[in-house]
Every structure is written in structure tokens, then in C-alpha cells.
Symmetry: C2
Subunit: 500 residues, 2 copies
């Protein structure tokens, strides 16, 4: 299909991918970042709508399983999408509180349990199973089972019913996105508990065993490719040629599909097959032509994007990377290096306050030689009483003026790379790397490799990390040990020399 062909296709009305069962399926409205119904004050109509949704939610939870739960679920979800953000908040808080654990029953069962005598050594995992023990064990098992049930908040019924309802899994992920956004401004215990319960459920339902690895190619339906274009969060897809190239020779794209969310990967990763680990994203995205695939020795992961905001905190990426490594190794045994070319989203956000407060704390962020070079090169661009101040002025200039001067680029290279290593390797929060992308790869068992100067010259690249990118390395034989060391001691392995 030529460029114009797909362009037309992408503009045309989306034809949903046929699913076997559409009769009782939740219909999703189109909803972007700004989904607020225009009217924000409560009108009689809105209150009436809210009451209806409340009633259908109650039915969906309290109906006997043989009643027409499907109809109630549909009514609830249609109604839910009509509500404003403020009403979502009211509804979700109500769900969290009124359908919580029934604590009187919990306490009753606990009292019963504590009344049973614990056979000697039973808590210590007794080995022999004499008949008396089996008898009293039965009592333990019975109350434990009941207690487990009564410790489940009532709203779990809603989650479970939605999960088995067509379209329900996706609806749950939208609902969780709403909960997360409400939590950001109103952090109440009951809403936190609701969120954590839903997260646990989603982790179970989205276990890798339920996900299908799918290689996304130019032969996939346009409706799926459109999603890739829409959700690519790391390096936006600029045009159709760009998309076609990312799916063509020397490139791979893999996604995790879930049977309940057809035609839309939950997460996808883009891979470039290369001779050496790339130093700049330009090589990957725009330099032509890709090398012939048999010459590749390196698989470079250059982008990983999640499509569902409501699945934040559910680490599907870890499993995806491991499976993709397995598939690529099997397919192309000559490929021995698995690395990423990754952004460092938090670097400048960490650096700027440090620079601003450096004088107050009498800390010089620059080494004396670095400072001298910088003062020399910056005369015509910025004034300041010392290196800290000049660096701050330059890095905060609106149009990244410093990136247009070779001498400034040269002068900033050494200090920024050095500070970036410090940021990645030494700066921690609760024993974990401060940078979110670093933390993601380190907990997967990767190590930090080379830092690449001027690796991403896009505005996003400059504003996040002064254009610096980093290669994380996945050395198969060391993944587990690395992950273990990072997990238990927070140790971060930094080995730039391992990158060829």
C-alpha cells in the first residue's frame, strides 16, 4: 500500500476489528486527554444520571449470578462514560466506601478462629498427619476459607464481573486511570485500597500466560497500526514513511495482545537490528538504509510504549523484553548483544534545582577545568558570576541556544556527561534509581552501559536530558544476578566499556 493509500485509510472511519461476541459488548466512546463534558455545574439532569449509574452499579454488584448481570454491566458502563470527572470522583469514592469489607463479619470469624486450639507444632508446619490433626485442620481450613472470602471487599464482585464481560477488561483499565488521577489530588485511604485491590486483580488477569506475543508488521490491519502511531510515546512517529520503516527490513516491532482487548496491543516495543549499539537515535530513526539483516549482531530496543494509562504500575514491559529477546535469539542466532537506546527523562529535572541551589550550599557542580572551559566559551552567550550560574542560564534558555554553538556543545559535554552518570548511578530514592526509565531496566536485570552525547537532538531530548541518551545492556547470562543485586542492595552496575 502506498503512502496515500494508508493516509486515506488512517483518516477513514475506523472499522472495529471483528470480535466473535459483540452482542453484549461495552461500546467505548472516543475519549482523549480532555474528556470533560462541557457543562460542569450540577444540573438536575446530571444528578438524575448519576443516580441511574449508581443504581446500575449496585445491580451489577448485588445481582445473583444467574440474573441478567450482563445488562446491568452494560447499563453501568454506558452511564459511567456520560458522567463528568467530578461525578466519577463521587461514584468511585462511594464504591470504595459503601462496598468495602464487611468488618463485623471479619471480627466474628477471627474470634471463632482464635478459639480453636492450635495443635502443637502445627504453626511450625507439622509433618505427620495423624487423624486428630486432620480433624482440627478441617476447622482451620473452613474458617480460613470463610475469612478469606469476608476479607474481600464487596466491590471485587464488580471487578470480577467486568473482567468476564466483553469489553470489561478495557473498561476496568479506564476506571483505574480515573482512580489514579483522582488519587493524585485526594489521597484517601479507602480510595487507595480500591486502587490497590484493582491493581492486584489486573496483575493476575494480565499475567504473561494470558498475553499473546504478536509481531506487528505492515500487513497488520490499519486499525492496529493507527494505535501504534497514536501511542508511541518515546519517539513520536512523524509520518507514514517513518512508520513503514519501523516495521520494515532491519526493524522489528512486537506487542502483547490480550484476547479480551482485540486489535490493540497493551504494550509494544520497537527493535532495530544493527552492526553496533547505536549512539544516536538519528541512526535508528532516519539514517538510510538499514543494514542487511544477516550482518546484524545487535538488537537495539529503542522504544517501549504502553497503550493503557490505567495499567500504570503493572510491569508488562519486563516480560515483553524477555520474550522478545528469546524470539530474536532463536530467529537470528548471530545476534549476541541486546541493548537499549533510552531516554533519561528525569536528568534535567534533577539537575536544574541542584544548579540553582549550588551557591547557597557552596557546592560547585563543575570541576575547575570544566568551569574554565565553560567561562571561556560562553562569553558571548550568557553572563553569570560562576559556572553554576552560567550553566543554569544556558540549560534554561527557551530555544536551547547552546545547542547551536559548537564551542558550547564541546564545553558542556564533559560536565553534563559526568553529572548524568552521577544522576543515573548514584542518585537513589528508597534504594532505587531516581530515574524512572533507569529503574525499569535495572529491575529487569539490565546494566547501565555507555552514555551518548548529542544522541537525541529533538526538543524532547534536549528538554529532558540535554540530548544525552544511555544504552542499557541485557546480558542474558547476568540478567538474574543483576536484578537480584539491584533488588536486594540497590547495587547499580555501570560498565560503559561493554558497549561496542
Amino acid at each position: 500500500m502506498n503512502k496515500k493509500g494508508l493516509a486515506i485509510l488512517l483518516r477513514a472511519k475506523m472499522r472495529p476489528i471483528p470480535a466473535a461476541n459483540k452482542i453484549n459488548q461495552i461500546q467505548f466512546p472516543i475519549r482523549d486527554g480532555n474528556h470533560e463534558p462541557s457543562q460542569n455545574r450540577l444540573s438536575i439532569n446530571m444528578i438524575r444520571e448519576f443516580e441511574e449509574v449508581k443504581v446500575s452499579m449496585h445491580s451489577a454488584i448485588s445481582m445473583n449470578k444467574t440474573e441478567n448481570v450482563d445488562a446491568a454491566l452494560n447499563e453501568f458502563s454506558v452511564g459511567y462514560f456520560r458522567l463528568s470527572r467530578e461525578m466519577h470522583k463521587m461514584l468511585l469514592l462511594l464504591l470504595a466506601k459503601q462496598y468495602d469489607v464487611y468488618r463485623i463479619q471479619v471480627r466474628e470469624l477471627m474470634k471463632q478462629y482464635l478459639d480453636i486450639q492450635l495443635p502443637t507444632g502445627l504453626g511450625e508446619k507439622a509433618e505427620d498427619g495423624s487423624h486428630t490433626e486432620e480433624g482440627s485442620l478441617s476447622n482451620f481450613y473452613r474458617i480460613e476459607r470463610n475469612l478469606k472470602d469476608s476479607l474481600k471487599p464487596t466491590y471485587e464482585v464488580l471487578f470480577e464481573r467486568l473482567n468476564t464481560h466483553p469489553g470489561g477488561l478495557k473498561f476496568l483499565s479506564i476506571m483505574r486511570a480515573d482512580i489514579l488521577s483522582i488519587l493524585a489530588e485526594e489521597n484517601t485511604a479507602s480510595l487507595r485500597a480500591l486502587e490497590s485491590n484493582l491493581r492486584e486483580k489486573l496483575i493476575t488477569w494480565l499475567s504473561p500466560a494470558n498475553l499473546e506475543l504478536h509481531q506487528i508488521t505492515w500487513d497488520d490491519p490499519a486499525s492496529l497500526l493507527e494505535k501504534i502511531v497514536h501511542y508511541e510515546a518515546v519517539h513520536p512517529i512523524s509520518n507514514l514513511l517513518d512508520l513503514k520503516r519501523r516495521l520494515g527490513v532491519g526493524r522489528r516491532c512486537f506487542g502483547y495482545l490480550h484476547p479480551a482487548v482485540p486489535g490493540e496491543p497493551l504494550i509494544f516495543i520497537e527493535v532495530a537490528l544493527m552492526k553496533n549499539v547505536a549512539q544516536t537515535i538519528q541512526e535508528v530513526l532516519w539514517d538510510e538504509p538499514p543494514i542487511p539483516e544477516p550482518e546484524a549482531t545487535c538488537a537495539l530496543f529503542y522504544s517501549i510504549s504502553s497503550t493503557q494509562p490505567g495499567l500504570a504500575g503493572i510491569n508488562l514491559g519486563k516480560f515483553l523484553i524477555k520474550r522478545v529477546i528469546d524470539v530474536v535469539r532463536k530467529d537470528m542466532p548471530d545476534i549476541s548483544t541486546f541493548a537499549t537506546l533510552s531516554p533519561i527523562p528525569g536528568f534535567l529535572q534533577w539537575l536544574l534545582p541542584k544548579l540553582a541551589s549550588a551557591d547557597t550550599f557552596q557546592e560547585n557542580m563543575l570541576e575547575s577545568e570544566e568551569e574554565a572551559t565553560l567561562l571561556d566559551s560562553s562569553v558571548e552567550f550568557a553572563a553569570g558570576k560562576n559556572g553554576n550560574e552560567i550553566m543554569l542560564t544556558m540549560l534554561t534558555s527557551t530555544k536551547y541556544e547552546w545547542t547551536k554553538s559548537d564551542s558550547l556543545i564541546t564545553a558542556l559535554r564533559a560536565p553534563l556527561l559526568r553529572l548524568c552518570v552521577r544522576y543515573l548511578v548514584q542518585e537513589k530514592k528508597r534504594g532505587k534509581a531516581l530515574d524512572s526509565v533507569a529503574n525499569f531496566h535495572l529491575q529487569n536485570g539490565a546494566t547501565i552501559g555507555r552514555l551518548n552525547w548529542m544522541a537525541n537532538r529533538s526538543e524532547k531530548g534536549f528538554s529532558e536530558s540535554c540530548g544525552i541518551m544511555v544504552n542499557y545492556l541485557y546480558s542474558l547470562e547476568k540478567i538474574e544476578d543483576n536484578a537480584q543485586a539491584y533488588f536486594s542492595t540497590g547495587h547499580i552496575e555501570f560498565s560503559p566499556e561493554d558497549v561496542c
Copy 2:
């Protein structure tokens, strides 16, 4: 492909369906009903093997999640398949007892919980969320979360790790089949708890949202078709023409596939498109040719088979039937009747003891007119002092002699059909239909339709139910009400006149 072609294919070594990740996949040995290693006494070697499996099981459970759990799981599963049945029993009992709930901790948490004051009305699901309440709620949530964790037996870790391990879901279903078979002879509380825990897990993991409905056709891989031939449990597939016919014009076959068990449906259903609800299985299986599909007004479910003994008690069939009804309705709007032609597996098993003890309890199983006709027709075949005794003799004759005499067939028709209705509609066990197939369809919301005389003339048909088969009816608008009535009061709807 012609008959010989597939015959050769089916005999040839099976090529596994390519799965993306085979590197760490559990390899399944071929295992049929009689999988006992030949040597049954304990030898030093066997004890050593057992100890090794025990150690790898312990590693798979107790390893930190960042250690090489995959290797331990593989070692455990390879070792498990080498063990004898006796050793499986030892191992599973050990798993149930030594990796059970740690009860000392449970009691400790309960005491903490009971010490917190329950805010007024909290157990009654308070609506307002004042700040003090949020504070004490946090404590409840915290201990409840910990308690839920500590109520999980340690062996859940093994189940969960296997579930996310390639091949692990299938391994778990084999393990559960072993547990069920051991429970049948040694019903201990801890093993029951192990089984029930694993069942709950499997129900979650095999939720319909995770299953893909697949229409099985003659174009499917031979390795998949081979499984259909192997697992068809209701009406064995006699030859390749038979198989091809069941997948051809006027027929449908649908299966549920799970991403973690590739190339093998967990359950499948066979459907015949017909003008009227079939009265005999012969019409469905052998009568040629099928009607042209546009003339069909009835979809007849004539066989439903589960392929995994370890998934017994996990009702996938209910969801499958509902989804298939949806698909067929959408595909062929002229089809308005959905019915089964089902065996009655427990009829004779119930009837024979009744006949044998009828005289003792002075009950005449036959009405007087029926008895007279039977005595008349049976003179040359069997002797007996009354109808009960003669009927018993005939129904237990080794080669079903009565089925070779028209007069006997006629004489037995009325009493057997009448008694069969009694068996299906009135005989209950704990408020549910005694017959397992009846119970399955009734709890799905079907009603009992027509009973069909001489509907299955195979040996299996005669030995189970004197050749009688029954049509269960799925009337879409009444499914939920029927299921509800059956569930709550045990009411069984019998409406033979609804079958056209």
C-alpha cells in the same frame, strides 16, 4: 487433503505448533491413562530421584523472585514426570502440609486487628469519610492486607510461578488431575485444601476473558485435529471421513484456546445445522447429505468434550455454549432454535438397583398395562416372576438382546421413557438433578425437551441409557430465568412440546 494424506499425517511424528518461547518451556512426556513406571517398589535410585524433586520444588517456592526461578521450575517439572504414582502422592501430601498457611502469624495479626476499635457504624458501611475515620481505616486496610497475604498457603507461590512459566498452566492441570485421583482414595483435609486452592486459581486464570473462541476447520493443523479425534468423549470419531464431515458443510466445531496452551483447545463443542431438532444421533453423525445451510433453522449441539482431566469442575462449557450461540446467531439469523442431543449417562446406573430392590420394597416399577405387554412380548427371551425381574434380566443381558426384537423394543418403550423422565426431572441429589449432563445444562439455563427413543444405538448408548437421548433447549430469552429458578429452588423445566 485426501483420506490417506491425513492418515499419514496423523501417524507421523507430531510437529509441535511453533510457540514464540520454547527455550524455557516445560517438555511434556507422552502420558496415557496407564503412566505408571514399571517398577513399583522403592529403590535407592527412586528415593534419590524423589529427594531431588523435593529439593527443586523447595527452590521453586522459596527462591527470591529475581533468582533463576525458571531453571528450578523446569527441574521440578522434569523430575515430577519421572516419579511413580506413589511418589506423586508423597510429594503432593508434603506440598499440602509443609507449605501450608503459617498459622502462628495469622493468629498474631488477628489479635492486632481485634485490638483496633471499630468506628461506630463502620461495619455497617459508613458513608461519610471524616478525617479521623480515614486514619483508623488505614490501620484496618493495612492489617487486612497483611492478613490476606498470610492466609495464603505457601504453595500458592508454586502455583503462581508455574502459571507464568511457559508450559506451566498445562503442568498445573496435570498436577491437579493427580491430586483428584489421589483424593479419590485418600481424602485428607490438607490435600482437599490444596486441591480447592488450585481449583480457585485455575478458575481465575482460565476466565473466559483469557480464552479465545476458535472455529475448528479442516484447514487447521493436523496436530490440532489429532487432539479433537483423541479427546472426543461423547461420540468417538470413527474414521477420517467422520472427522471431515464433522468439520464440513452443515457442521461447526468451536473450541476455547488459551494462549499458554497453544494448539490444543481446552474444551470443544460440535454443532449440526438442521431443519428440525434431531431425534437420533445417527441423523447427525451418518445420514447423508447434510441440508443446505441456508435452510437450517436449528443449531444442534451434539457433543461437548473437555481435553484436560485436571480441569474437572471448572465450568468452561457454560461460557463456550453461550459464546457459540452468539456467534451462530450473528452468522445465521434464520436459526432460532438452539438445542442439544445429549446422552443420559446415569439412567441405567440408577434404574438397575431400583429394579433389583423393587420387590423387596414392594414397588412395581411398571404400570399394569406396561407389565402385561412386557410379559407377552418376552416369553421366548426371558423368564421371571414379574415385570420388574424380567426388565432387569433383559437390560442386563450382555449383548443387549432386547434391542434385536421389534416386539421387545415396542414393549419396553413406554416404561423406559416414563422412568427416564422420572430420573431426569424428579431424582435429585442435594437439590440438583442426579444426572451429571442434565445438571450441567440445567445450571446453564437450559430446559429439558423431548426424550428420544432408540436415539443412540451404539453400545455406549445402550449401556448408559437403553439408547434414549434427550434434547435440552436453550431458549435465549429464558436462559437466565431458568438458571435462576434451578439454582434457587432446584426447579426443573420439562417441556417436550417445545421441540419441533
